[in-house]
Amino acid sequence: MSGYSLGIEKIDELIGEIRSGSNIMMIGPPMSGKDDIINTIIYNGIKDENSVIFVSTREPGERVLEWFKQNDQDTFDAHIGIVDCVTKTLGMVASDTEYIKRASSPVDLTGIGVKISQFFEEFLMKKNIPNTRLCINSLSTILMYSNIQTVFRFLHVFTGRVKSANALGIYVVEDEMHDPQTIATLKQLFDGMIEIKSNGDGFAMRIVGFTPKPTPWFNYEIDGMNIILQESE
């Protein structure tokens, strides 16, 4: 069972391979490019022949797929499964497709859980793909409708499933939207964090939890599928 890399060059070197079964929280301020970063991590997974399960609470499934199509046509017979929590919430009728299963709403944690499990079964058991990345973008939307205890219970189950499936879990959280107690509660569930902060004109990131000390902060720029890090401070 091989581990995982994020696809962000300097950071991958610093932290080494991420153990399979790990769960990571990505936390950062609005407009800091978290969507692009998570997409890059997914894209890197697809290149490594991982399968990807993507829970989207902010964009309809079709939009998520589009991003990949725009950025790279070739990856498109990738094993990607999107759990779309948006379309039905908007009252739009749309059936499931090969790549997209739709939950009723972000409140419908039962439905979201069923669909995640179905993709896990499809990728690991039916298609025999050993490595899977589960991304939830974002926990903050789910927390708008459900309280922290509820979300904690949900995550407790699914971080456990990630562990037993030897997958990699990445969960996006909006900074500044939640009280410190909520963040502290969530943190208990994760093996590490990708932290993002604003830094002068731009943003900087660092990884916590995979090396004895956090990595240094790196300013970064996003260029299509690439996260380009600048020298650390």
Binding site: G91, S104, S105, T110, G113, L124, M125, V157
Partner: protein
């Protein structure tokens, strides 16, 4: 009394759910327990009953769409389907339903609506809670438990049947124990078989107040369209050379393949059967003696066996008897197929029984496999045996 509409479950419940009783589908996270409540609701609408859907995590305008996924068209039942909207208030949407819970996080408001709808219904009806766990998440565990007690009491009073879908997230263990053992008249557990990931689903009766049936777990799968099917992963079809095994497999199957050479099976036949709420994979063995190891291998994980004999060919009965012995060792449910009944000189099932010395508890079913006659009756006989209440 109402039926759940789920194959076998009504048998396990001694016919269904008596009026005034409550039942919970208690599902482990990630398995499709929610379909159980939906199927029960649809079945009762189709029976002409009045039903209430308490929406907690879905927009009411999406409900019909949700059911359509399984091929269940609710349009014909507008008159009989009442929705309690305990969802729209949560996302700030306006509601068109008659019963609306303005603030779904308030157990008192929800309670009010549920009591009201139960009182106003003019006949005993089926009330289905889309997600009791969502109510619990929004209103609190203790508060919800108290409300459920009250709803079940009301149900008893007005003789409504209450059906709850519940996902067993890691709540307080006291809460889960109450739900499993005390709050409801019947508890159906819906679980997953997991190894790294969930790859199989089952349900079982954990408790019923009105019968003392022994717990039995059944595998199931969910078809879209179709809904819940009892799943039997392996039935083996065995029997002497040329008895009609491959023909039998093909006659039953919606799709089937055989690995044959010059008209005889050299590897195996595989077919898939979807019939009366059962979904089964069937495997035919080659008939010739040199393939006996394949029979042993195949029988290993089987749930039941068909032994096909050519009813005209008494000299093959020795071979058939030998194959019966091979498979009997596995202690599996078995049905004998008396095939080729159309041919002259075919022995009747009871004649075959005495030839073989087959005990009375083994059924012998007459068939004409190449015309498809009797094959589904035989299938029903075996799956009933496999799933019978012990």
């Amino acid at each position: 009394m109402i039926q759940t509409g789920i194959t076998k479950l009504d048998d396990y419940l001694m016919g269904g759910i008596p009026d005034g009783k409550s039942l919970v589908y208690y599902s482990h996270p990630g398995v499709e327990g929610n379909v159980f409540g939906m199927q029960t609701l649809y079945h009762n609408l189709a029976e002409g009953k009045k039903c209430v859907f308490v929406a907690s995590s879905s927009d009411p305008s999406m409900i019909k769409d949700m059911f359509k996924e399984f091929g269940w068209d609710l349009d014909a039942y507008d008159e009989n389907l009442i929705v309690v909207d305990a969802y729209s208030g949560l996302v700030g949407a306006t509601s068109n339903e008659k019963y609306v819970v303005e603030n779904p996080e308030s157990i008192d408001l929800l309670n009010e609506s549920i009591e009201k709808v139960m009182e106003e219904l003019d006949e005993n009806s089926t009330i289905m809670f889309e997600s009791l766990s969502t109510i619990m998440d929004l209103c609190g565990e203790k508060e919800t438990i108290d409300a459920v007690k009250n709803w079940n009491l009301h149900g008893m009073l007005y003789e409504h049947v209450l059906i709850y879908n519940f996902t067993a997230w890691p709540y307080d263990s006291k809460t889960l124990d109450l739900i499993k053992h005390e709050l409801f008249d019947a508890v159906i557990t819906v679980g997953g078989i997991a190894e790294r990931v969930i790859y199989g689903q089952y349900f079982g009766v954990l408790k019923t107040e009105w019968s003392d049936i022994e717990l039995k777990s059944m595998l199931f799968r969910v078809l879209r369209p179709g809904g819940i099917r009892i799943y039997i992963p392996k039935i083996v079809v065995t029997g002497p050379y040329n008895a009609g095994k491959s023909t039998f497999v093909h006659a039953l199957s919606t799709r089937a393949v055989s690995v044959d050479r010059i008209g005889t099976t050299v590897a195996l036949d595989h077919g898939h059967v979807d019939h009366k709420g059962f979904s089964a994979d069937i495997f035919g063995t080659p008939g010739q003696e040199r393939f006996d190891p394949i029979i042993k291998m195949l029988s290993g994980e089987a749930m039941g066996i068909f032994l096909v004999v050519d009813s005209t060919n008494t000299k093959d009965f020795v071979r058939a008897k030998q194959m019966l012995e091979i498979t009997k060792a596995y202690g599996l449910p078995l049905v004998v197929i008396a095939n080729k009944q159309d041919q002259s000189g075919a022995l009747k099932p009871e004649e075959i029984r005495s030839h073989f010395n087959i005990p009375e508890n083994v059924q012998i079913m007459p068939t004409v496999a190449d015309k498809g006659e009797g094959v589904f009756e035989a299938f029903e006989a075996l799956v009933n045996k496999i799933t019978e209440v012990v």
